[in-house]
Homo-oligomer: 447 residues x 2
Amino acid sequence: MLVLVRMKNSTKVKHSKEIGIGMLGCGVVGSGVLKAFNEKKVSINQLVQHPVKLRKIFVQDTAKPRDWPVEDSMLTTNEDLVIGASNVDVVVEVMGGVDPAYDLVKQSILNRKHVVTANKELMAKNGIELMELAEQQGVNLLFEASVGGGIPIVRSIVRDLRANDIHSIRAIINGTTNYILSRMALSEIDYSDALCDAQSLGYAESDPNDDVSGIDATYKLAVLGALAFRTKIDVALIYCEGIQNLSLRDFQCAKELGYSIKLLAIATKENSLLTLRVHPVLIAETDPLSKVDGVVNAVEVQGDLIGKVIFQGPGAGPLPTSSAVVSDILEISRCIALESTLLGYGNLSNTLSIEPISNLTSKYYFRLWVKDKPGVLAAIAGVFGSNNVSIASVLQKRVDTENQSAELVITTHRARESSVWNTVSELKSMAVVQGVSSFIRVEEHSD
Amino acid sequence: MLVLVRMKNSTKVKHSKEIGIGMLGCGVVGSGVLKAFNEKKVSINQLVQHPVKLRKIFVQDTAKPRDWPVEDSMLTTNEDLVIGASNVDVVVEVMGGVDPAYDLVKQSILNRKHVVTANKELMAKNGIELMELAEQQGVNLLFEASVGGGIPIVRSIVRDLRANDIHSIRAIINGTTNYILSRMALSEIDYSDALCDAQSLGYAESDPNDDVSGIDATYKLAVLGALAFRTKIDVALIYCEGIQNLSLRDFQCAKELGYSIKLLAIATKENSLLTLRVHPVLIAETDPLSKVDGVVNAVEVQGDLIGKVIFQGPGAGPLPTSSAVVSDILEISRCIALESTLLGYGNLSNTLSIEPISNLTSKYYFRLWVKDKPGVLAAIAGVFGSNNVSIASVLQKRVDTENQSAELVITTHRARESSVWNTVSELKSMAVVQGVSSFIRVEEHSD
């Protein structure tokens, strides 16, 4: 146990030795952190008023080429030289994924190292457990970079908006998909062309599944939701639907109706019920989120006092991510230098239930091809009506005279998701319906 | 001196007594804080894990009606019962203005009270001095509400973006003027009508001068600039130009050219030179700030790592402001409960020079009425040329046949402000020029 004296001048530096940093991983993000850390050595030491030194970097393969030059002696394949070293105070985890990051972060905390991580999957799946462990061990676990790159959203939610009862989070939280959707909308190209374009620019990986399927966004939503609603969130219970089946045609129809199409991550709380979902939405062009184009992220938080606040910026990339990682390192280093303790995130043990998506009420957009003959619209309207789904508008968009078929775009008033599923299923079984091409939720202004 | 023991479980509550809050002022913002504080009693005590009690409120007149009911016994005209009371740990200053707020805040700090303030003018004029005093006294001075209402911009800059070398801040930071400009643009009405409208909705005060003249924005820019560039900023050195002389006609011309008109507060740093200015600008419709309409605030921060990040939300109003004030109270109360110390804002003693506006280089927009006869354009172009101001475009907008005059809209390439002033002065002295109706800076994308 350490006895310390609170001085009248609380900022007087008390820590006597160098502050040691160890890193786990040295890929794209790690190289960005290294670059920032090296280029800013002088200002880091000034800000901390104390020397901050990088000790060792744990990597799987020391021979692998790096985006930023690293001395060989800095690299090690022995994790203990980072997480177990007595001269390491802060462990920076930038490996990504859960295995082996989980074990390494947990052991670091057990070894009473402070931890900074950029790992959304780890924080989504094991965040609460690791935060509690860190609190028990009296060390800090900071993870600003795990959501929204360098956008300061994590600590803003838990600290600067703490006075609020947060009602909802609506976020464009995956830059890859937002780039693809923006390209489809603005350049009128197909999904596959937009994806190729994103890949050629380095905005999408060669296997883009985690991004385009929405999985990446569910991780980030789980982290934000846990902090905003102060509860554990099981990622597996977040409804998730990707962008792979969106058609250029829907962008055109949406535009005519005054909407954009975005992949939103949405978390809402009503009393003790949470709704958590990631899926494409039609969103009115008057909504600020509809105007967020390109690889940018934007997170809207709505609380009882603040109303709506939006955080917008680059959600990925080595430099923006290193902005958050290095700021976290600075925060912890200042704490060590001043022998102070950061405040934890407090109690995250609210008990809230997650509503299944079938209980959602929303407006909906349908696009379907039907036989172009009298009585068809009445029959289709009948199916909506018998399922208690009230139609708001019907537009006949195109006619295919050769196949005697017509394209209909139908929007509904608010209806229950399960009723909409029944409607789709009945529509598909009708002889006069040639296909339900799309069915997209319409996001309403939440004023 | 207080000796404390750092426990293994750092979140264990150590403080044994109630945490006492005293308030200075009980106007619109104060009433909002009271409302939030009263309605959230239970959750505040839960978050702090400790009872937090409001003790006394200092007001000038105890008989004045309040927006939120206050027991008479809570009010006092004796400031010592707040700033000198042994059962008050945190003083919340919501009076506004410098006199007597400055003396009261300073004395509170000298009495070793933590302080939360929403006072932009006080922080702009005496912020660095008060922060240094608080640091010496070992107490916290938090002022998130002083800029941007509840938008968490203050601490985001000093802490979450700390790793960055911040290059620029561009902000729509006064809701009143942004509402007026949005109304002029969207409803095509005159300044005076838009101002009346803002007053009738409570968005502008009966004496709107502080807002429409840009003064309010200079206070906020001084606070943000001091934190971003870690230096003292003399408010008097911020160039300030209001919106009173903007004409509806300029909104129409700007729109045709693809621009909006906004009142921006801009702070940029190049090496050790700062440029600080508040004035209307033409801003391209492709710039996210151009789309921020109504009473909303938006602050764009650009740093070397993060790139650009934008914070957007309600910049005023009792509830949004109380979001920041109560969050600050919570932060300090948790600190007291855990017998921890918040990290200060670090060293703000960079020495930087403020460039006079005459040294600015910018693009410019001119609207002028000239004699409608041959050779006039050549003469006018000659004046621009002889002053080294290069013309980018000239449009003849309207002709007044009765007066034989024509309206010209001229935009320039980047030029030096002092050269532009000389140009204006020479233009005004020309017989063929009937008047220079407007001259507005054109804000460029800062990528």
